[in-house]
Symmetry: C2
DNA sequence: GTCTATACGAGGATAGAC
DNA sequence: GTCTATCCTCGTATAGAC
């Protein structure tokens, strides 16, 4: 194998797999497992369909690989947050902010997670990977409740509702944009920042105890 | 045409269309426009594929018809609520409760709306139909803010976030069920009621002004 | 208004050369 | 490890009989 080829990634196994995964991520984000077309993926990679089946066995295998990489990424974001600040509110703000940033800057993954939920009913990821995102949030809410800083509430429902608030704007941005004045780009830096501020305040207000 | 045939709905145009729409609703809820298969729809109706194309021209036409019916239904729910109660909080509680009941008891429509957002980017419904659901909520929030009963906030973002909270639980129920103790059925009457209570309290707390 | 048969293209997957 | 050619099923859509 020539060095030039390796540099260009043309005959480098890992580089090729990565390129396929990137292209697949885009395509699965468009239509989910069912809607994605393998030729579309192949087309975007610059390689051929055969490479997909060679490296990932079949469409399902590719999907699983995409999903695993996506979950790992999201997991890293959640686990990078310090959840033991003295005030649970501060940790919650940090966690939600990080989640919103990640959701907003990786729209493909956000769409894929939503598809996985409604289309495949979570079949393709383990309970562990889902829990790794929710459990820190749930634990944080529990701590706030027992500290008397948060309302009495069911932390599971609250956590799910919080995640829902974080992702819904981004899942439906093309859909709801007409609510704003014409031409408003919901994914612009300014709008994303505004959404973050609004969502955080709404989430905090929703769980905080005002006594 | 014999009366018996008409009674059984076998040669009744409207009855047949309705049966197709019902079956299509189920199928589109499974995989969206892209993922739905016309044979699956035909199979569920008891009629044949040809009937679908006869009555609705093509798959897209059928999808549009399903969506229109769905939007009309949701619109009726929203418009049935009295949004001018003296206390905006009371109207908001009523609106959210009605929305949650409708979302939870028509899961197919809920999934279809989500698909329409992420898969088709709202292409298949008019701006008007979307607005008809959001605008009453937005107006209600505006009233609450100007009355000094709700926090200072952007009513558009808040409305989107509220809808997100209402639908996310139901969109991802199969996905998140492992967060609860094994065997918990998130769609049971009890869990739906609990989710409604929790969501309403979280939503109200999220917008209310505690001065 | 409904059914059967079928055209035809799309899409997932494989074989085998290089 | 990569490419070309190909197979074959599935799925949309139509034609035409009843």
């Amino acid at each position: 194998m020539g060095v030039e080829e390796k540099k260009a990634g043309l005959r480098d196994k890992e580089a090729t797999k990565c390129r396929i995964l990137d292209a697949a991520e885009e395509e699965f984000a468009r239509g989910g497992l069912m809607g994605a077309r393998t030729d579309a993926i192949a087309c975007k990679t610059g390689t051929t369909k055969s490479m997909i089946f060679y490296h990932f066995r079949d469409k399902e295998g590719l999907y699983q690989a995409v999903l695993e990489r996506a979950v790992a990424r999201r997991m890293r974001v959640v686990q990078s947050i310090d959840l033991h600040a003295p005030e649970p509110e501060d940790s919650l703000r940090a966690l939600v902010a990080a989640l919103l940033d990640d959701v907003g800057s990786h729209l493909n993954l956000t769409a894929i997670f939503m598809y996985e939920a409604i289309q495949n009913k979570g079949k393709y990821y383990s309970e562990i990977s889902l829990a790794s995102v929710y459990v820190p949030l749930i634990d944080l809410l529990k701590r706030g409740i027992s500290d008397g800083k948060f309302r009495e509430m069911d932390p599971l429902h609250a956590a799910v509702n919080i995640v829902g608030m974080c992702v819904f704007y981004y899942c439906s941005h093309e859909n709801i944009k007409h609510l704003w004045s014409p031409g408003t780009e919901l994914l612009s830096k300014e709008m994303r920042e505004q959404h973050k501020r609004e969502a955080i305040e709404q989430i905090i207000a929703g769980v905080k105890k005002f006594s």
